[in-house]
């Protein structure tokens, strides 16, 4: 039974193969909203937005912080090409928290030469990291 539901998921980053296994469901954030993918999804290519990636496997769930990249979804296979992705174990809580505070401070005391876009990206990144750890 479990065999029938599962499909292969491959997550690749520029410097390693991050994850490769049979899974039952994958959830993540895209530019068009959150998406959950089961087996036999229609072929689709989506752009990833920072968020928590949830992998549901036969023996439990796995989480990771997915920051940017894109995903290619085929009926029996998903390939996620991620620029940046991290397991919870790899995240430094203190660093993420301080990054969040820094970014928030920068957004609040906005001056003319504040790079708002960059601060927002940094904030989103930090928030994703913190969320994954929970």
């Amino acid at each position: 039974m479990a065999e029938e539901k599962s499909f292969s998921l491959k997550i690749i980053t520029p410097d390693r193969v991050f994850f490769e296994d049979q899974v039952e469901m994958v959830e993540f954030n895209t530019t068009e909203g959150e998406i959950g993918v089961y087996k036999n999804h229609i072929p689709l290519t989506v752009i990833v937005k920072p968020g928590v990636l949830t992998i549901t496997m036969e023996n439990g769930e796995k989480f990771a912080a997915l920051h940017s990249g894109f995903a290619e979804i085929l009926p029996d296979k998903i390939t996620i090409l991620a620029d940046v992705i991290e397991w919870p174990e790899e995240i430094d809580v203190d660093r993420a928290t301080s990054a969040k505070e820094r970014a928030e401070a920068r957004l609040q005391e906005k001056t003319e030469d504040t790079d708002v876009e960059r601060a927002e990206i940094a904030l989103r990144r930090a928030l994703t990291r913190i969320e994954v750890l929970k």
Binding site: I12, D15, R16, T45, I47, E72, L74
Partner: protein, 285 residues
């Protein structure tokens, strides 16, 4: 004939040079192994990236997009990847030659140099060095490639440059490295690939194809630059390993010749001394 002392000194100096080249060879062998491992690890990423972009472009044939046609400016940016250190045989000069002997007119080029050797050589022959990011070749990171790519795309969007090229040494295998000039922008993909892609399953895009292109092409270019950096590091170490290997064996040959000369000189001097002694003894008696 050189004196025995001269030969001995010369032999000693070659021997110590040989020790250095031998050590350098060992070091670059180890570095090559590591660089090769890195290149292999990231290969699947690029293959996948390439496939997605080709399928995207193959599907949307009549797409008008700013990344798909050359900009108005005649200026061309070239990212030149060389090494920071020498003693790597023809590694650096091959890349420089690729630019100087290439078809691209010198006046229109703006060089984005990665690697001091290439930067210096091109600056000497009068090229405009727009940017120098030589540090990143020491340990190329994906974020470095992203930074460089953003800078290039900004100048492209601002109309400062019309085309972007990438000059690097492709790593075929441990002994074959090919200096390569690659056009990054406007994106050009071989016709043949597109034909193959149309037979593949129909792919949907979310967001729409042109928006997806807007996001994907920068990533595509970044991954090309990053891939080139990694391959260049592997090629550099491969080239250095070969250069040092031949230097070591050349030194071996020279030492052998010098030993022969030295022994001949030694024998000569013994013979001479003997003749003198005998001649002296005869003169007394």
């Amino acid at each position: 004939m050189a004196s025995m002392r001269d030969i001995k000194r010369r032999k000693g100096s070659i021997q110590s040079t040989q020790q250095i080249t031998k050590a350098m060879k060992l070091v670059s062998t180890v570095k090559l192994q590591r660089a090769k491992g890195n290149a292999e690890k990231s290969k699947s990423y690029f293959t996948c990236m390439y496939e997605t972009v080709t399928s995207l472009l193959g599907k949307t044939e009549n797409l008008e997009h700013r990344y798909l046609k050359p900009g108005d400016s005649p200026k061309k940016a070239v990212v030149v990847i060389t090494s920071n250190r020498g003693l790597a045989g023809g590694y650096n000069s091959n890349i420089v030659k690729l630019i100087t002997k290439g078809e691209l007119p010198k006046e229109d080029l703006e060089i984005y140099a990665i690697g001091k050797k290439g930067r210096d050589a091109l600056a000497r022959s009068g090229y405009v060095i727009k940017e120098d990011a030589s540090d990143i070749i020491e340990e190329p990171l994906y974020s470095d490639a992203t930074k460089l790519c953003n800078k290039l795309l900004e100048s492209f969007a601002a109309g400062e440059i019309g085309e972007i090229y990438l000059a690097y040494t492709a790593f075929k295998n441990t002994v074959v490295h090919e200096p390569t000039l690659l056009k990054l922008l406007p994106v050009e993909l071989p016709e043949k690939e597109e034909a193959q892609e149309t037979s593949k399953a129909l792919m949907n895009f979310e967001p729409e194809a042109d928006e997806a292109l807007e996001m994907l092409i920068p990533k595509y270019i970044t991954s090309l630059i990053y891939g080139a950096l990694i391959e260049a590091v592997a090629s550099e170490n491969g080239a250095r390993m070969q250069a040092m290997d031949s230097a070591t064996s050349n030194a071996d040959e020279m030492i052998e010749n010098l030993s022969l000369l030295y022994n001949r000189a030694r024998q000569g001097s013994i013979t001479q001394e003997l003749t003198e002694i005998i001649a002296g003894a005869e003169a007394i008696s």
